[in-house]
């Protein structure tokens, strides 16, 4: 549907992993009869991909131009009216701005912290394995459940995080700041949680990258009397480029698509003071029951994701050196 053609301009990316594995070439030329023979093996996957990914994408594009009743009845075409509704909403541009802040802040801080974490976990020390296992927990745990702890902890009076701030003397009223009642502080805490749950994947990706760096290059730098800081920025970091660029791309996609953190932390706050594109889509579906307008905003979100991926793959070439 709409997406099958667009990303093809980024065709250079997926080629590299596939072409690496030339295990199957048996010398003779392959023909369409080979494709026919392959079909039984691939058909189930194709059916699932086309039926549950591409078809709903097309349907979404179609619905974004329709007038859908709450009952689900299709009342005909409305052209671009749904898009006009999306763009005409007074909070639309603040929501776009907040989405940019959300993605940039979470991904940026996650990467910086993960670079440090990966260094720590890459050094040998007794108990390292235990620390590495602990770092996995937020990766495997449900994001909803992790966020619930923070939400509870920040509750006025009885939240333990709130109490901790009171005990430290950072706030003097046990009612606390109303962290989760105020859109701005709830949004900032959501950023903190999003970083927390993004760290494990990013750190492990960087650890895998560190494992590929030949020790000789680091030793050579040491021989040349380069200090640890110099060695890190001149020798280690450039060799982490591959792992880093892939981690950033996947984080951008994940953070942009993230719903549960903001839903839990800011979902019960009236108004739209802490919404991103993704939470707004779900407010259109859940609260306003406007699947048609939600589809229009989803198409916009979809286009943004694809543009980001294409631009990123073109500029950074995350898979180039495979």
């Amino acid at each position: 549907m709409s997406l099958s053609s667009k990303p093809s301009s980024s065709g250079s990316a997926p080629k590299s992993p596939g072409s690496k594995q030339r295990s199957s070439g048996s010398g003779r030329r392959t023909t369409w009869r080979d494709t026919l023979k392959a079909l039984p093996w691939l058909a189930p996957a194709l059916v699932l991909i086309v039926g549950v990914v591409f078809f709903p994408a097309g349907l979404m594009l179609f619905n974004s131009t329709r007038d859908l009743a709450i009952s689900g009845l299709d009342k005909g075409s409305v052209g671009f009216d749904n898009y006009a509704t999306v763009f005409g909403f007074s909070q639309f541009w603040p929501i776009i701005g907040r989405t940019v802040i959300w993605v940039v802040a979470v991904v940026g801080l996650t990467v910086v912290i993960s670079l440090g974490l990966a260094q720590v976990l890459n050094k040998a020390f007794p108990g390292r394995q235990l620390v590495r296992l602990a770092v996995i927990i937020p990766w495997a745990a449900s994001v909803v459940m992790t966020t619930m702890v923070f939400y509870y902890g920040l509750e006025p009076y009885f939240g333990v995080v709130n109490k901790f701030f009171v005990d430290l003397g950072l706030i003097d009223n046990p009612a606390g700041y109303g962290w989760t009642k105020n859109p701005t502080t709830a949004f900032l805490w959501s950023i903190v949680i999003a970083i927390f749950v993004s760290l494990p994947f990013t750190t492990y990706t960087l650890l895998a990258g560190l494992a590929t760096i030949p020790r000789e290059t680091i030793e050579a730098a040491r021989m040349d009397a380069a200090g640890p800081v110099r060695t890190y920025f001149a020798v280690i970091l450039p060799q982490l480029r591959g792992a880093l660029s892939v981690a950033v791309l996947i984080n951008i996609i994940n953070v942009f698509n993230s719903l549960p953190i903001l839903k839990v932390m800011t979902g019960s706050i009236p108004g739209y003071g802490a919404d991103t594109i993704m939470t707004m889509i779900f407010k259109y579906i859940e609260l306003q029951r406007k699947v048609d307008v939600a589809s229009a905003l989803s198409v916009i979100a979809f286009a943004i994701v694809i543009i980001i991926v294409i631009v990123y793959v073109r500029v950074v070439k995350p898979l180039k050196e495979v």
Partner: protein, 312 residues
């Protein structure tokens, strides 16, 4: 999140052959201590930093554990205590009946959806991964490209389309719909990871078996599967954990409380006047423990690059 991992591994796979398989890592690590002659002070410094990292990462889950054994009056006390004064383990029995949502049913939903979706992924991805790794044919790259495009997408951005589609098909608010959604969106990762494992097995093994008269299916099941087992386990773990934690699509597609998975059900406690936080945390622990243990099972593979082949 996890579903997208394979891209990283494409990057890191080539160089990691020597560190990935489990048997080799431990001796290498101990060797490092002696070889590098790290001063004791440095080691202690690293341990302290490691301890801080450990504390930060387990703290939220410790709060969860401590909260789960408090009574309702303790957890909602205006002068809260960090540690529970008494440990009310009986919460883990009583937590399943709350007015907010039928938690026991939610748990069953989560298990059924995750298990079925994981099995479906396996049945669908395994043949595709095997065939694309073993044989070349026109359209192979197109297929792999489709798989990688799917990788870039998540249910959240397609939810309104998925919601409409399953309503039209009469599958709205059914487990079947969520099994299909979870399977479709985790298919690409599973395919990639198993593909790279199959590709790591020398083709000569297959050919020798075929010369001995083995059928294609026999080659797949008797020769290849035992060798790619670690890749299959990794694919299963990632798929299962992703399905277990799925939130966005379930939130919209499953409207009946009893059909919803635990991740969606728990959000109903937020903003309630009288939230039974001890139950929320008790259920969370039951929901988190199995997937964390599964992930820890494949920790070696996370460090070594996920797709590093099993055969040297």
């Amino acid at each position: 999140m996890s579903a997208s991992l394979d891209r990283n591994t494409q990057d890191t796979a080539p160089g990691t052959q020597d560190t990935a398989p489990g048997t080799q890592a431990p001796p290498r690590r101990t060797k490092r201590y002696t070889e590098d002659k790290v001063p004791l002070g440095t080691v202690i410094g690293r341990m302290i930093v490691g301890l801080v990292v450990l504390a930060v990462f387990i703290l939220p889950y410790l709060i969860m554990v401590f909260g789960s054994v408090k009574t309702k009056s303790q957890i909602r006390s205006v002068d809260p205590t960090y540690f529970p004064q008494e440990w009310h383990w009986e919460n883990f029995a009583s937590m399943w009946s709350t007015p907010e949502t039928p938690l026991a049913q939610n748990m069953i939903s989560t298990v059924i959806i995750s298990v079925c979706a994981t099995l479906l992924v396996l049945v669908v991805a395994l043949p595709a991964a095997y065939y694309t790794a073993r044989f070349r044919f026109p359209g192979r790259m197109v297929f792999m490209f489709l798989v990688i495009v799917t990788q870039m997408l998540q249910p959240a951005v397609l939810t309104s389309g998925l919601f409409r589609q399953f309503s039209i098909l009469g599958l709205g608010d059914t487990w079947a719909a969520m099994i299909l959604v979870n399977a479709a969106f985790n298919l690409s990762f599973a395919t990639w990871i198993m593909h790279s494992f199959f590709a790591g097995i020398p083709k000569e093994i297959d050919e020798a078996a075929r010369l001995d008269g083995a059928s294609q299916l026999a080659v797949l099941f008797r020769i290849n599967l035992p060798l790619v087992w670690p890749g299959i386990v990794t694919a299963i773990v990632f798929t299962f954990v992703a399905c277990w934690n799925e939130f966005a699509a379930s939130l919209v597609i499953l409207s009946t409380a009893g059909n919803q998975p635990i991740s969606v059900a728990l959000t109903k406690f937020v903003g309630q006047y009288e939230t039974s936080w001890q139950y929320v945390f008790g259920v969370s622990i039951v929901g988190i423990l199995p997937v964390v243990l599964l992930f820890m099972l494949i920790e070696k593979r996370l460090v070594g690059g996920l797709t590093t082949g099993s055969v040297k």
